[in-house]
Amino acid sequence: MAVRHDRKVSILDIMGPVMVGPSSSHTAGTARLGRVAREILDEDPVEVRFFLHPPLAATYRGHGSDFALVGGAIGLNVDDPRIPEAIRIAEQMGVEIEFAEEDLGDVHPNTVRIEIKGKTKEAEIVGSSIGGGVIEVFRINGFQTRFKGDSPSLLLFYRDRPGMISEVTRIIAEERINIASLYCSRKQRGKDAFMEIDVDSPLAREGLERIRAVPDVGEAKYLDRIT
């Protein structure tokens, strides 16, 4: 099931972001992709591997994408003047970093797969930096999705069963939050499933706890706008 109003980008997306140069798709977008991986991992990384689609692998270094990807993965914002130092900072933090090339299929040229590990958890995303700092993450931990990071989002990993969507959306409605879009995918009927809900306004802690308490919800993560 896929319910999604494809939204127009905003004025501030086009006239922005405020960022460290030199390339919005290679610096700002890639930093945001790194950030998404870091936020989904939700703890300090100890190991990050970047698998770059061939066109990106050919151009990333000259544009400082290596600094940007790493900067994002250690939690820096796109306008953080420390981005040019990100690799050194990461090394000081003891984060192991690796870059490799990988053909990711019929995707946007600037696409990367990121494997990130912390002390207790790990995560994987595949996403593209499609220009002007705008990103599209289309795989999270093996599930298909269409995450853009331009609004607060709720990511749910759960066991597929009837009624799940309505239970979760009811809680969100009760929290008086408007849903901008909703996307579900699953690996197999009745098995692991994933739901991405983009919302118009921030979700409070209690709302998130209520969703976590819904039976069959494995993990629920709330991500703010990725800046």
Binding site: L12, G21, P109
Partner: protein, 311 residues
């Protein structure tokens, strides 16, 4: 929801174009107009600072560019220039921003970093030379963003997707529309300014030397800032694009698809593969490899030291 320039012309008839875009964003993204304007005010400040810093010059990361703004500014201040001040300032400011960008300085992507000099170059020069209220510039930034957001509905705004027309071309169109707005033009005139600007960048390829946003990007921003001013001037005099803006965008998308991969940011064609371009590319690669080797050696040394102190 406004999905085309045709709809925009309808919605913006006899209305302030910035208000139209702010309203759309409020409806679609739930961001109140005041909040957008506040953010744009800050971004205008970032542009201003960036222009000031950039005038000082300094070498870029790839050491290919960086002092263009300083040189032109020095010539201008010494009275050694022949163009009119508005044009020269648009060039200096665009070069300043791009110089900062090439040194990994903080800039505003407009709509991308590689094309980030065009809009501030045009708008800040106009504001200064025609003594326009800075608040009007802030609103003009909303117009620029709004124009870009309609283009972005059908086109991917990146050199990798469709060549430089998708970046610098779109920036020139956004800038032309907002200059027409700042000069008191109608919505229709703004849209035609954008169409004239974009139409005349169609086919512009992305062939950065060594894959860096330096050559031709930095100077190209100055040239297309002036190009955008010219387009706005034509539109304000009543000259209209025979091909409507929506169709110009369509043409841009089609041309972008037809461009070979080598001319879409891969540094595998055009200027990047000239004799000089190749030589620079090779030098950059060697330098990068050397830096990587140094870094690896440094890591090794630290690891050894740690081991040594543990035992």
């Amino acid at each position: 929801m406004i999905e085309s320039f045709k709809q925009l012309e309808e919605a913006g008839r006899d209305r302030d174009l910035a208000d139209v875009f702010l309203e759309v964003d409020e409806q679609e993204h739930g961001i109140p107009a005041e909040q957008i304007l506040a953010a744009l005010r800050k971004r205008r400040g970032v542009m201003r600072d960036c222009i000031e810093r950039g005038k000082g010059g300094g070498l870029s990361m790839g050491k290919l560019v960086g002092n263009e703004a300083r040189k032109l500014n020095e010539a201008f201040e010494a009275g050694r220039t022949f163009l009119d001040p508005l044009t020269i300032k648009a060039e200096i400011y665009a070069l300043s921003v791009m110089g900062e960008n090439s040194r990994m300085g903080v800039i505003v992507a407009a709509p991308t970093a590689g094309a980030g000099g065009v809009v501030p170059g045009m708008l800040m020069a106009l504001e200064e030379e025609r003594k326009i209220d800075p608040e009007k510039t802030v609103r003009a930034l909303a117009v620029a963003g709004g124009i870009g957001s309609i283009v972005a509905l059908s086109a991917n705004i990146s050199g990798a997707a469709g060549g430089c027309q998708n970046e610098v071309g779109v920036a020139a169109a956004m800038g032309a529309a907002s200059v027409a707005y700042m000069m008191g033009g109608t919505t229709r005139e703004s849209i035609h300014a954008a169409a004239i600007a974009l139409k005349n960048t169609l086919g512009l390829v992305c062939d950065p030397v060594g894959g860096l946003v330096e050559v031709p990007c930095v100077k190209r921003n100055a040239i297309f800032a002036v190009h955008g001013l010219t387009a706005a001037q034509l539109a304000l005099a009543g000259v209209e694009s025979v091909i409507p803006m929506d169709e110009v965008v369509e043409a841009m998308v089609r041309i972008g698809r037809a461009l070979p991969r080598g001319l879409r940011e891969t540094a595998e064609g055009g200027l990047a593969t000239t004799a000089t371009g190749c030589a620079i590319g090779t030098r950059l690669k060697d330098e990068a490899n050397q830096r990587r080797a140094e870094r690896a050696a440094e890591r090794e040394r630290v690891a050894q030291e740690r081991k040594g102190s543990e035992s």
